[in-house]
Symmetry: C2
Subunit: 433 residues, 2 copies
Amino acid sequence: MERIYGSELGAYIGQKVKVAGWVHNLRKLGKVNFLTLRDVSGIVQVFLTKSEAAQLDNVLPESVIEVQGVVAAEAQAPGGYEIHQPEIKALSRVSEGLPFSINQPELKAHLDTFLDYAPFGLRYPQKKALFRLSAGVMQGFRNYLDQQGFTEIATPKLVESATESGANVFAVNYFGRPAYLAQSPQFYKQIMVGVFEKVYEVAPVFRAEPHATSRHLNEYISLDVEVGFINNHLDVMALLSHVIRGIFTHLRANYTPELEALEVEMPLIPDVFPHIYFPDAQEFIYQHHQEDCRGEPDLAPQHERWLGEWAKQEYQSDFLFVTGYPIEKRPFYTHPDPENPRYSNSFDLLFRGTELVTGGQRLHLYEDYQRALKKQGISDLQTFDGYLQAFRYGMPPHGGFAIGLERFLMQLTGASNLRETVLFPRDINRLSP
Amino acid sequence: MERIYGSELGAYIGQKVKVAGWVHNLRKLGKVNFLTLRDVSGIVQVFLTKSEAAQLDNVLPESVIEVQGVVAAEAQAPGGYEIHQPEIKALSRVSEGLPFSINQPELKAHLDTFLDYAPFGLRYPQKKALFRLSAGVMQGFRNYLDQQGFTEIATPKLVESATESGANVFAVNYFGRPAYLAQSPQFYKQIMVGVFEKVYEVAPVFRAEPHATSRHLNEYISLDVEVGFINNHLDVMALLSHVIRGIFTHLRANYTPELEALEVEMPLIPDVFPHIYFPDAQEFIYQHHQEDCRGEPDLAPQHERWLGEWAKQEYQSDFLFVTGYPIEKRPFYTHPDPENPRYSNSFDLLFRGTELVTGGQRLHLYEDYQRALKKQGISDLQTFDGYLQAFRYGMPPHGGFAIGLERFLMQLTGASNLRETVLFPRDINRLSP
């Protein structure tokens, strides 16, 4: 007999079927007994008489079983159907107690315990919903960009030299020579604008930041975009807002059960995302919150929260662009503001008052790169040879951005720790499972 | 004026438009002159009179320019249209000669030279077609599996211990402790079958194999699938054949220009892929090619070629499964053939007589893993703790496979070196660009 999924029971009332999955819960009440089975489609309820329940005598939760039985409508059961007269066959028996419960509405495990037992704990239905949603975000991102004629690229993660700075890179022994893990596909995605004009990549990036905070991961998924023939960073911002809207359109259309299971409060997304110029943002903070940060090179988290509140009140938007960060705080490839070169054609996108995306226009002329690298004290351009080659052979004005997948999920779902939004997190203390 | 793409000219006959791109070719004949421009959509021809051609005096090939002019129908031009009365503006000037030509039908650069100049060389139209096709393969793979209810996963590339064997892994300095780059997502995709039943991943894998052959890369993209609740490896083979068919359906529907540009000979894909049992394959080779490999633990490349020829003649198929490889040559997690435990429930898929995919049914019982690891001489199971956890807490019968993206492209397009099928290859001698 072919296995069917729990979600398909309604089509088989009165018929004998086979379902299979993990023993999620067992309620033995004596005369009436209920077994719930967890499969890819959700939860299936099985009704057992006292004698039928004897089949479960040595079957502990999380054992994998097959159940053949007759489908009956039952308003009280998940989905409205249950299975009667079950014949049970164990495919894989669990012989020990579980580290914590995953069949209760709430997960009562400390984060570290959860992560130690992630191969088991990820089976908890709300965790499954979260990582389905994570897949949905990647899908929505790719789908939108595919429709817009972007080309997906796969760039190397083993690189000869550190991308943006020598700090914070993991060293690899590459056949006896030093190599590094890519901190970002920045150089390669720019190079590929010279080939395809419009490119994106979804891939892991590696940051050797020795911090143990709730907002740091040492390996995460970066959703990277780079596009040529722009006028300036405003074109990149427009693209980013369309990408964000495309992701949410995709989630609404395909991931409603997951959004509901996670009680996600969907963000306010206006037709045009509001933006504020960096010095104006500092002036605003001074005027409205009596904190004088004017002239400082960056915004503090509290400043971003204030700006987020303002955008929500003033523009009914959970998103706010801050544009024109001081050039000194941005990477060397950042394009200056032609009107005021102390500032840059760059932006951050705040989501609910926290930075979610960084992006901007890049330099595109070879001479500008020579100058910018010299200013960083880099005179030996040999290490940047492959990168600079793209500019020597003609590059259009271009720009791009990178969205951190985990941070996006964290801010969307209200998770309190970034580790909760990645299957098997890597941090300064954790390399396993 | 808004830029349009070269492919859109037909909608603007007699109107003034703006196009932009790279100077692909210049033919200065005196009275009549032709400039071809390369943009994301292809090649645009610009017609220049002698006086108009003066605008190009200091513009070398690969410079990035904008051209405003009037669209005219011209049967001789690429796409059937060209631009007249051009006004040209340089966005980025090239000031040196090119390392080799990318505007001729044939690319005349030695592979090593090409790879040194990949940021430039990848602009060659047929290379663009190849890497568009590469993106199309990833898309087709994901689309098919998404439709079948699979969940995309992102698993860590920094791992605490070597996956399958201690050899051939890259060591990383992880905050002073040793870590390794994942050789495959094998353990994690199996773990995730315990969560989602059906999973896939598209991600880089890292192999520290110290070989410099035309068929080795040290970093490549692996298309990984794992699925639960199978009967045996035959279910995995059926899934794989559907995935292959799904990829080609997607390529035919969306990548015809690329397939034509690359003169790809599309493979013969029968409704059901033929398969042959490993010992029968050896007997076949003995009978038909008088080479006695019976009893050997593996097939040699020539054996695979003979089998591929046979499948093509006998079954009109470019694909052939070889099943039941000796268990001794397969990784420890391979499920034995219950009828004959010297052989395994594993398979290779040959594509045009060369191995393309390896897969099979895996062990799913915790006791079987303990036994299998012991047989490998591994008694300290601590390093496999996270992996084994999944089996201690109940796993269904399952299996899967991995397709190497680059190898797939190589065999599809007839490339002679695997390095040609990756944007920026990594091998024992090459870490850049």
